[in-house]
């Protein structure tokens, strides 16, 4: 029986005490001459002891669930195990205590590591050049689409190529990134088998198309087997092909985006390459491109002259920068470690096991729930809880978390009603997957009223998200504007 820890922890600002942490040079007196208008009294956050801070956050962490807590089949997020050696390597003093503006001679080890990581990712994707600068997957998308923009600007076609074509099953960030890079979004419907409707695709991709953007396997976990035909068609219209690498774990080592005809690829190192996601980030979203797009990559690119590594190469038609420095270095070190440890065999095994797990679960879930699209899946599948007697996807999710199993992604992709998007990854035992399957199966037998009360084994029960957004209170400051010093429980 699963029970999450339950503490009524105050907001840290309300934990008041005295400061125990010592600051360097704390006891010296200093001359401070701040102009009157620029002076401040107090920061207004109170003081407290280190032990109070630690006790507080330990309790909060116990009211949370990570991939180390249990099975975490969150679709499209690839919540695989994050090897602990990665974290150890990332905090070596030689990596932790260096500054990106140091002379490149003094940071050869860091540059070598970044160079090698980019080289490995080039091999895995088949791309000709790779930047590690984008700070997350969506940051990678924006980088890639900025390259598309610059490419067509350079070719004097930007005035006519205003469109990015995406399938209706695409991640929401695809259309959002396209819009941010200045493109109009054209959405195309999927065929009944869950892949792109090739006729609709051909109607949509024209001389107005700047790029066709797709993830493969797609968000239904289905491999788009007509990808070459689509690539050739898009190229014949002068458009570029963009690969959203969110689902790379489903094909890694079996094929590459280059083989499929893609021109631009972004990867999510926090998914495929095992870097911990930290409750929302940091991630890393490297972008690879084919030869003809190399000159548009962000600067600086790290280069190697056979003897030394350099960090000052500015590609001639660069889009500029997409982050302050070299990217999320701490994340990049972890991904480098992962790839070094896995080697090609390890990566193949990860992909095969992930796909095996996913198909096993799909087969079991299909016994009692519909799984749209082609039968054979890659790393994930989407079940649809439709039918008069079926519980809602949201209810199933709450029943799962109440039993110590993280829920799948729900209500996505938008094209599947009552969607449950399940991605077991390679980090799951048969027992864990069976527990998930049985827990979901159970919900079909439970009276629907049961769900209204769930979850009961967690810190809180269901939350009215609509109300929380109607009356947004993102800070204690805003809450206390209305309600001064009253206890929280009374004013929420």
């Amino acid at each position: 029986m699963y029970h999450q820890a339950v503490f009524d922890e105050p907001i840290i600002l309300d934990l008041k005490g005295r400061r125990t942490i010592k600051i360097p040079l704390e006891n010296q007196k200093f001359r401070v001459d701040i102009p009157e208008t620029m002076k401040r009294g107090s920061a207004g956050i109170g003081d407290r002891e280190e032990f109070s801070v630690i006790r507080h956050y330990v309790k909060l962490s116990e009211m949370n669930f990570g991939a180390d807590s249990g099975f975490y089949p969150l679709g499209s997020c690839t919540m695989k195990y994050n090897p602990k050696i990665n974290d150890e390597i990332a905090v070596l003093e030689g990596f932790r205590m260096i500054h990106p503006l140091q002379d490149s001679n003094d940071v050869q080890g860091a540059l070598k590591l970044l160079y090698e990581l980019a080289e490995s990712l080039k091999i895995i994707t088949g791309m000709d050049e790779m930047t590690l600068q984008p700070l997350a997957g969506a940051g990678g998308e924006f980088t890639g689409l900025s390259i598309v923009r610059a490419y067509f600007e350079c070719a004097k076609q930007l005035d006519t190529r205003r469109e990015v074509v995406v399938p209706d099953s695409a991640h929401g960030s695809n259309p959002a990134s396209s819009h941010m890079a200045g493109f109009d979004v054209v959405q195309i419907p999927s065929a009944p088998d869950g892949t792109v409707d090739i006729e609709k695709f051909k109607e949509a991709v024209t001389e107005k198309t700047a790029a066709f953007m797709i993830t493969n396997p797609n968000t239904l976990g289905i491999f788009e087997d007509k990808i070459l035909e689509m690539a050739n068609y898009a190229h014949s219209k002068g458009a570029l092909l963009y690969y959203d690498g969110a689902n790379l774990n489903g094909i890694m080592t079996k094929t590459t985006p280059a083989k499929m005809g893609f021109d631009i690829v972004h990867l999510n190192l926090h998914k495929t390459f095992s870097t911990p996601h930290g409750g929302g980030g940091p991630g890393a979203g490297p972008v690879g491109v084919v030869e003809k797009l190399k000159d548009f990559l962000p600067y600086p690119m790290i280069t190697f002259d056979g003897d030394k590594y350099h960090d000052d190469y500015v590609p001639p038609k660069t889009i500029g920068k997409v982050a302050s420095f070299f990217g999320n270095f701490g994340v990049l070190v972890r991904a480098w470690t992962y790839i070094k440890m896995m080697g090609e065999e390890g990566l193949r095994d990860a992909c095969e096991t992930a796909v095996l797990n996913s198909n096993y679960m799909r087969k079991k879930v299909q016994e009692f729930m519909s799984v749209p699209g082609k039968t054979l899946k890659k790393h994930e599948f989407v079940a649809s809880s439709v039918g008069a007697s079926m519980p809602k996807a949201g209810d199933i999710a709450k029943h799962l978390i109440d039993n110590g199993v993280h829920a799948p992604t729900i209500y996505f992709p938008l094209i599947v009603p009552e969607a449950l998007m399940v991605e077991p990854t390679e980090s799951a035992t048969k027992a864990e997957m069976d527990l998930f399957i049985e827990t979901v199966r159970q919900t079909l037998k439970l009276p629907h009223e049961t769900f209204e009360k769930e979850p009961v084994n967690l810190k809180v029960t269901r939350i009215d998200d609509v109300d929380a957004s109607k009356n947004p209170r993102p800070t204690l400051r805003m809450l206390r504007k209305e309600h001064k010093e009253q206890p929280l429980q009374q004013v929420i």
């Binding site: 956050i45 930290g278 409750g279 420095f325």
Partner: protein
């Protein structure tokens, strides 16, 4: 293959997992990629340590290098908290009830930053300060419908190059205004630069030269209610410097790297992004809110998700999905540990030590172009030697004297070298002595 996998294969009636890839056409299948064999933990430790050993850390030299990334003291408690597995290995909290811990921690980060900035609302983090600036320019356009955004001429190229990229996609024109003779935003030029297309203005304090810009309090009244004032701050200065909320900032941004994140070769850092209550619905990024569950218990929820890409797709306020949540938690831990007294203290130490080094510089024939203007923990010096010469001498004393501004900042580095010097609480008297020795040879 272990028993588990054999069972699965049997269940699927296949012999090898490779059969599950039959839907990938042969024409695009790869046999081998050519990656090397995997290592064990002991081997990777050896290799990684060798790479790490090829780097010279800031602890192995006298470093006065800042310019957007600062060598501050990092309390041990921070890594302890962010390495808690339940935080470290969680995804974005899409299932709120099982993720209350991280959601409360992020709400606390938002609340702490809101007090520090004296702003109503803070999101649960951006990638870094440069992307925050890009998003702020976009947000100013979304709010006003106008497309000219004004920035200082002297702005770190890291920020500017990122901003320009965001601006191109959003069709925003970025205009520059120069500093006055004190190294502060020129208010007369600001007035002249404003027109009916101006969406907003970005001004920072301390600015690129470390100067505490005393013209900042007048910016909002000059640009008016209808335009967006984006203030850039160094969060660690806000224990002693007046917060952006006091000056009527509509949006305030800063890099939380200074709040206990360390250097890490420039990342991960965290972009702090704050705004006024009236603009919350135009703010990018994920936002945690305090609310209650159906039993009336205090609970945390990811609010205003209809602004976001997974719901609104191309009409979303930003494309952001992942952010820097764990780094936001790290800076919340830092702020909690330091508290009011610690932040005040660390601000004073940074200012005080910076002045001590400035006094040393004054002993030599060295120009400080904006000497007399108040600074926080960075200042500009001008040496009459070439950058090559200056670097050679600095090396001799195992010193990094600061960040040399070269041609891309409009400075000639053959006849003179302009250096932005950063001093923090981590700089020792030994570091100062090395600086003195260095100046004796270059000045």
């Amino acid at each position: 293959m272990n028993n588990d996998l054999t069972d699965l294969l049997k269940e699927l009636k296949i012999k090898s997992p490779d059969e599950l890839f039959a839907d990938i056409p042969d024409a695009i299948r790869t046999k081998t990629l050519g990656l090397p064999k995997g290592m064990d933990e002991d081997e990777i430790r050896r290799v990684a340590s060798a790479y790490a050993g090829m780097n010279k850390t800031v602890n192995q030299e006298h470093s006065f290098l800042g310019f957007g990334l600062y060598n501050h003291f990092v309390p041990a408690a921070i890594s302890n908290v962010i390495n808690r597995n339940e935080f470290l290995t969680a995804y974005t909290p899409y299932q709120a009830e099982i993720s209350q811990g991280i959601m409360q921690a992020l709400f606390e980060y938002q609340s702490l930053a809101a007090e520090l900035f004296q702003m109503d609302a803070v999101n649960s983090s951006m990638y870094d300060v440069s992307t925050s600036l890009g998003e702020a320019a976009r947000m100013a356009k979304i709010i006003t419908g106008k497309d000219e955004f004004i920035v200082p001429k002297y702005l770190s190229k890291n920020k500017r190059a990122v901003l320009d990229n965001y601006a191109r996609g959003a069709e925003i024109k970025v205009k520059e205004i120069d500093f006055d003779e004190k190294g502060m935003i020129d208010l007369e030029r600001l007035k002249e630069a404003l027109n009916e297309n101006t969406s907003g203005v970005y001004v920072e304090y301390p600015n690129m030269f470390g100067i505490i810009d005393t013209n900042v309090p007048r910016v909002k009244e000059i640009i008016g209610e209808e335009r967006i004032f984006v203030a850039g701050v160094n969060p660690i200065s806000l224990g002693v410097l007046a917060p952006p909320g006091k000056f009527g900032a509509d949006i305030a941004i800063g890099d939380g790297q200074v709040l206990g994140l360390g250097l890490n070769f420039g990342g991960p850092v965290v972009g702090i992004f704050a705004t006024k209550e009236q603009y919350i619905r135009k703010m990018p990024g994920k936002i945690m809110g305090i609310t209650k569950d159906y039993n009336g218990k205090v609970a945390f929820s990811m609010i205003l998700q209809t602004r976001e890409q997974h719901i609104r797709r191309e009409r979303a306020v930003t494309n952001m999905t992942s952010n820097q949540a764990l780094m936001a938690v790290a800076s919340a831990v830092y702020l909690s540990l330091m508290g009011d007294s610690g932040l005040k203290k660390i601000g004073e130490i940074n200012m005080g030590r910076t002045r001590e080094l400035m006094d040393i510089v004054r002993e030599f024939d060295v120009t400080m172009p904006y000497d007399g203007s108040p600074v926080f923990n960075e200042f500009l010096i001008r040496l009459k030697e070439s950058k090559t010469f200056v670097c050679r001498i600095a090396k001799k004393f195992n010193l990094v004297p600061g960040y040399a501004l070269g041609k891309n900042y409009g400075y000639n580095d053959r006849n003179q070298t302009n250096i932005v010097v950063n001093v923090t609480e981590r700089n020792t008297n030994d570091d100062f002595n090395a600086y003195k020795e260095f100046l004796r040879e270059v000045a």
